[in-house]
Structure formats: C-alpha cells, structure tokens
Symmetry: D3
Subunit: 173 residues, 6 copies
C-alpha cells in the first residue's frame, strides 16, 4: 500500500515503505512572506571571580577572550543552518554580540536580524552558545568547573507571531 | 589582441591571455525571476536481503541507519553549492528524504523546494546521493559488494521550462 | 623598537607594532605526546511535561527529535575546531550522544574520544550544545520558554592532567 | 534502572532513558593501528553520444567539464567526514580522479590513500559521486535524462581486512 | 549604568558592561534595497619566466594549474561570508575567473555579480586571492620566491554608490 | 589502448581515456615522515595614513579591526585544505597572527606550525591573506583604493628541504 505522504511523488509503488509520519524534515517555507525579523538570545558563563577578572584584563593563557568570543559568535550565526539539521538558510542582515560581567559570571547577548521568511531565534541562540563555548575554551585551563547556563531567547519581533518578549523572571544571570 | 570575452573589464591589455571560450564559470542568474521550484530525485542502494533486514531492525554495527541517512541527506542538500563548483547558492525552502525498501534494495527519494532563480535538481540529487552514501557507510561492514544505482531526477516543477516528469521506463529500482 | 614576541621572525624592524602580550593565538601543541583522551559533557533542555511527551512519541511538527539531535551532535563534534577559534583540529576517534528524560527536561550526554595531543572537552561540549539546540529548534513551535542549562564537563581522562570527574553537586539536572 | 550502555559514564541515575541499543554512533577507532590504506571507487554517468562529445570538446554551456569535475571530486574527498555522519576524519594522503569515456557514458575513477586508522572507501566513493554530480550539473541543460549508475568500490588495500578487489562481473560500465 | 548601545535590548541592568563603542559587528543591511551589483578584482602572481611557461604547458608536478585555480576561485567566492567575519551572506549570481600571463607573472581577474543588498567587492577579492594562492601552491615546488601582489578592486557597479572604476595608475601588473 | 597512468587500477580497458599526464591531483604524502614544521608568511595592506589611524583607534564603522582580522586569519589557517584544492589536511599545531603598522600600511605576519608530513607555507599564506582581506573589508567604506601587496613566505623550517629564509630585499613593506 502506498504511503499517502508520498502521493505527490511519481507513481512507483512502495513495496515496503519505511517512512513513518513522524520522520524529520525541513518544513516548507516557500509560501511565507519576507519580513524583517529580529531575535535576541543569551547565554551565561558561570565561573569564579578571579577568572572574570582575568577575562577582563587579558591575562588568560590563550589571550584576549571577549573579542575572540564575539567574532566566534558572529561567525557561528552564519553557520546555523549548517549545524541545526532542520533550520532554513537565511540572508542574515546583522549580528551583534555583547557581554555583561557580574562578579562571577559573563552574560552573552546576541542579536540577529534578517529580512527573510523565518525567524532568527536559532541564529541568535547559536551565536550566544558558540560565544559562550569560546569563552569556556579560553578559561578551561584555569577553571574546570565552569558551567554555561540559561541559554534562552529574550525577545523577538517580526513574522506572523509578531513581537514577543520573555516574561521577567529570576532566571537570567 | 584583447580577448573579447573580457571586453566588459577595465582596459588592461592582455599580453598573453589564457581564457579559452570553454572555461568553466558560474553563469549569470541575476536576471532570472524568483518562482517556486520543486524537484524530486532518487538513488537506489542495492545490497542483500539480509542486509535490508538489518537496516530495518536497527541491528547494524553503527546503529540506526535510515534516520541517520535522512538527516545526512537533508544537511547535504544545504551544502550543494559548496560541493558542486558551478551551482548557485539558493534559499532552500524544504527538504524531505524518504525510503522505500524492496527485498534487496533501498530506494531513497529526496524532494527539495525553493523560491529562487534556479531549479533545485542538483540539491535533490545531492540529498539522495549523500543519503545513499550514508546507508552504504553503515552497511559496508556486512556487505562489501553493495552498489548505488539509478541516481536520477524524477520530476521537477517551476521555472521557465515548466513542469516535467521522467517518462516511465524500467530504469528505476 | 622591536617587539620581543616577534624575535623568532625575520629581521624586519617594526615601525609601530600593535601586538599586545594578550593577543589571541592558538597555543603550540606540536611538542605534546599523543595519548588516548576521553571526555563526557552534558547539556540539559528544560521545557514542559507535555513537550517531553511529544519528544518521546514523535508528534512534533518537525518530526523525530532525538535521532535528529543525536546526528546533529555527532556532526558538530567534528566541526569544533571550525567553530571555536583557538581549538586545534583533532582526529576524533568516537562520538556518542545519549538522552535521559525526566518529567520536564531532557539531558544530553556526549562522549568523545581521540588519540591526540589535546583533550576533547570542547568537542564533547560542542556536541552536547548543538544536540540541545537541535532539540530546541524542534520544540520551539510549541514552547517559546524552553531553556538550555547546565552545559558542563562531567569527566575526562588521558593527557598530562590525568583522570578527572566533576565533584557531585546539585548543579546537574 | 540504568542503561548498561551508559555504565562508563558518571553515576547520574537515568530517570527515563531513551537510548536504544541501536542508536547511531561513531564507533571507537582509537585502538586501531595506523597503516597505509588505499581504495578505488567508481561512478558512471550515462548520457547520450552527442553529450559525451560535448564533454570532450568543451562546448557545454557551463564550460570545461572534466577538469571541473576532477577538482570537485578531489575537494569532496576532503569533506567526507563532514557529509557522512558516522565517518571518521582522516589525514588524506592523496586523491586522484580519472575519466574514461565510452560512446554514451563517462566512467569516473577515484583513488584515495591515507596513513590512518580506518579505510578510505567512503572518501573514494564520495569523490567519485561528487565528480559525477558535477558532470551532471554541467550537462543537465542538454540532457534531462542522464543517470548516475554503478557507484561502487573496485578495490582496497591496507588495514586488518587486507587487500580486496571486486570480483569481475558485468556490473560496471 | 546601562550602556546605551544596548538600549534596544530587554531591561537587564548591566552590572559591569564590557562592550566598547568600537566592538566589531555585522552592520544591519535589512533596510537596503536589492539591486544588481557587480565587482571585478584582481591579484597578480609574480614568479619566473620558466615557471610561467610550466603553468602554460601543464608540466607542473601537481598538474594543470589554471583550470584548478579557476575552480578554486569560483568556490572561494561562495565561501566569502564564512571567511570574512563581518561579511553578509549574499545570493551570488555569477562568478568568472580569468587569467592573463606576461613574461614573469600571471594576473587573475575575478568578476562576481549578485542581486542583493550589499556589494560584491569582497567576493571578487576573495575569488582572486584564493585563485592566486592555488597557483602559488602548484608552483611552490619550483619557485620558493613567488609573490602575490596588487590585490585590488578594479571596478564595481550597482548599489547606492553607483558605478566606480579604479583610476588608471602604474599599480597593476 | 590503456593509459599507463591507470595501470594500478582494476583491469577495465579504457575505451577512450581522457586523463592527460598533466591532470591535477593531490600528490601522495603517505610515505613522508612526520616532523615539526613551521612557516611564517606576510601580507601588506596599503592604505592611507588617516585610515591606519582609524584602524589603531577603533573608530571604523564596522568596529575593532585588528582583533577581528587576527581571529579571521587563525580560523582561515584551519580552512586551508578546504580552500586550496590540492593541499593536504594537516594537524595544525599553532597559529599566531601579528600586525605591524607604518604610516600608510599594515603588515600582517602569520606563523603556523604542525607536526605533520607536509609543510605549512600554504596555511601561513592563507592566514595572512584572509587577515588582510578582513582588514580590507573593515576599511573599504573609507578607502576604495586600498591594495593588498607582498604576500609571500618569509621563512620555514622542518621537512626534507630544511630551514629556509627569504633573502633580504626591498620587496617587503
């Protein structure tokens, strides 16, 4: 019996068809309209106070950390659809990566915009995550116990679902 | 004497010009109009009946084969213009990869759509080919003689040349 | 005055040299010995109970989530040195990605091994992070508030620093 | 109950563990010894006699086909572990891509060597496949019905399994 | 005190903010209009007369040089936004790479077009540079002293700044 | 008649063989011994004095230039074998990128080391070139006439050919 999910394909009868309804696929976005879309996401690197100080004064063994992590995050945003299997490639319009330090943590904020057919949450999350992993790489010689926390979308705008901001909670750093 | 093929370039006389008329190049698609385009392609992995059974029941040494091949095919569709030198990058709108098994073969069907200026045959063929290679990789420990066959476009729609479907023949699996 | 950090380079006097001592660089590992090295890292995706149920029964809009995230994590491990600027390329010897679900979270465990000159913590962290981002991508249509937490190294072995395991705390999921 | 497949990981009790024994993974090759390994694979592009003539005389719309396909195949060999999820990265030692034409087909032969811990069949198959797809891309304007056939390993040497050559059959072009 | 540069982001007070006004970022191009844009750039490989002869007659140890460099340049144009951190991904519409030889040099001319929101100077420069590096790679066994010179934009058209051509000087090869 | 260059391949008679002796190929390095190898290369960006000042004080429209170019150069070194078709992948052991400024130019110095079977000249040249292209990208809004010059190897050590340094000339910046 032919799988109805293949009914738009040429008439080769399926002898034994393995597609389940739940198989992974890139959903069709060709009918969606292009609008400006923006998303901001964060990640938080939790470490020790002396390590945050070293990040700030450039004395880490691998060198200047924040500028390196910023470039890594920007470049990672452009790799999102190559890393996340079901993400669509998008014409990324801008990327910024910023840092806020507290006593024992660094918060990474990534904002991505596009004029495209899908949102850019995954691009912002990927930029923040890779920037955080880059910071981790630069401090791991001095802190084996660092943790990356609270990777989440903070707000987004554009598209069918409109503007959205994460309700305030105590979750973020 | 200046090569006329360079006549749109600044006036630096060519002392000895090596471009032949037949040199490879990415043809200009900037004047083509964006329309929805879809293509379906296939590849067939021919192996043994017991291997097809192992693909189905997940008992291969490297683990679950079809889901892995599906993801590989989807991701490969997005790499097409990085693998095929003269392909244009396209905003891929959807990718599906499906499998049909017969006694001693697995047929891979890949469908790709875009809203773009060129067709997506190469993307569909690349998805089907890489999914087939991934299956091959997972069975090669149990079948050195497997063969990938019948990689071809089955149908396409959109663009100047309009809808097209491969005439029925005995070629496919 | 010549920057002493350039003293091993040919004798071109620096008119005005911009390298600060703290500039980023890939540290030299050519003198380190090859040993087997293994690292395990985790990430935790916190969401809702009904979403964890959908992950389990394959009813998400984009399809089967865990198998897709596993493949994404494995492939990301191999991209680590392309994503993290100061990471060294390594001959990755194995990658596994596993999942544990609780009521409202999914914990991703990634283990990477190599026979190489540096540790594979970053590869394990990258695999876990990208697998978590892939899960996020698959549930974001049903949960805008999901958070990725507790990305950390759990244990590692091999290399000069020897075996290490994270002390038990209440940090992990 | 803890999944025994995780017994080498830190003692976090699995609340509900989703790993089945059949999950996909990159198998561990860190214990294998480095030896010289070589593999030769083929792909066959079946088209029309007039198209083979155009391939030969450089009159295709996109330009010189064989040289372009050769470079594409060589570069694809180096992307194998980025395309095939469970392939290990290998220090590729050489790649050659050659062509044989008959009346209505072009046979691509790719040979890859390494001094590494796993065989290079997948690298040779990937090189042959991508070279064939590149030829297809260059002729698709003049032949919609072309088919890529008979992708298979012809012979390999090195490694535990020793030398092997495909038994002669009528399968190849 | 909150950095005003973050004023468009959710209200999380910055404890200690590290962003300086001069931090690197991908500037926002989402408001720019799509027009056809073209750019031509060059690079010059300076070597010896006998090496230019070997390039021409295909007798170099690694084989045919110009066709290989042409394909490398075309493929590199498509990698520009992955190599240059702050470049935007663009739908590249065409790429040509041509060569002119004089007695002791090879001049590479790369022309790239797009229908997009930013210019393609970087794509043309990247194509020319990578084609020149590829030639260098193929001759380095016979000339250690080769130099790549005069990488520059020759002309561009399209976009807000309109048409532009480099004033004639003695700079180019 | 069979092409002798294929004599090491299975006995399929070539009906019409297209390989010329001069075809491009990755030469075999599997028999070469691993030694430590180091190479230093340079590129020079020639611009205006006021632009060099802007590079130094971080007032360019796209932000901090030298740190961004350094990271781009380091990451590009790891992409060398993906950009240059006949380059072998190498386990890069270290990369440094430094800058020297004069009145109207910036000289980029890139040093790469490996413990491998081939030299790292191409990696050092690629790092220097991409760092220079990145600087170009950041200043092109203020200087359309900038030129990248004098890309060359300065010295190398290791391997069969031993240590080598470029003879002093007036060529470099």
């Amino acid at each position: 019996m032919t799988d109805p999910s293949l009914s738009d394909q040429p008439g080769h009868p399926a002898l034994s068809h393995l597609r389940s309804d739940g198989s992974a696929h890139m959903v069709d976005v060709t009918g969606k309209s292009e609008t400006k879309r923006v998303a901001t996401a964060q990640a938080v690197l939790r470490t020790r106070a002396d390590v945050v100080a070293q990040i700030g004064d450039g004395s880490l063994p691998k060198g200047e950390a924040l500028g390196t992590a910023r470039v890594a995050g920007i470049m990672a945003a452009k790799q999102t659809s190559n890393l996340i299997p079901l993400c669509h490639p998008l014409p990324i319009g801008s990327v910024t990566v910023d840092f806020e330090t507290s006593v024992d943590s660094v918060r990474i904020l990534a904002t991505v915009s596009t004029r495209g057919v899908t949102g850019v949450e995954m691009e912002a999350l990927t930029a923040a995550s890779v920037a955080a992993l880059t910071l981790y790489d630069m401090i791991k010689a001095v802190d084996k116990l660092a943790v990356i926390e609270a990777i989440q979308v903070l707000e987004k705008s554009g598209g069918k679902s409109g503007d959205w901001a994460r309700p305030s909670t105590g979750v973020s750093a």
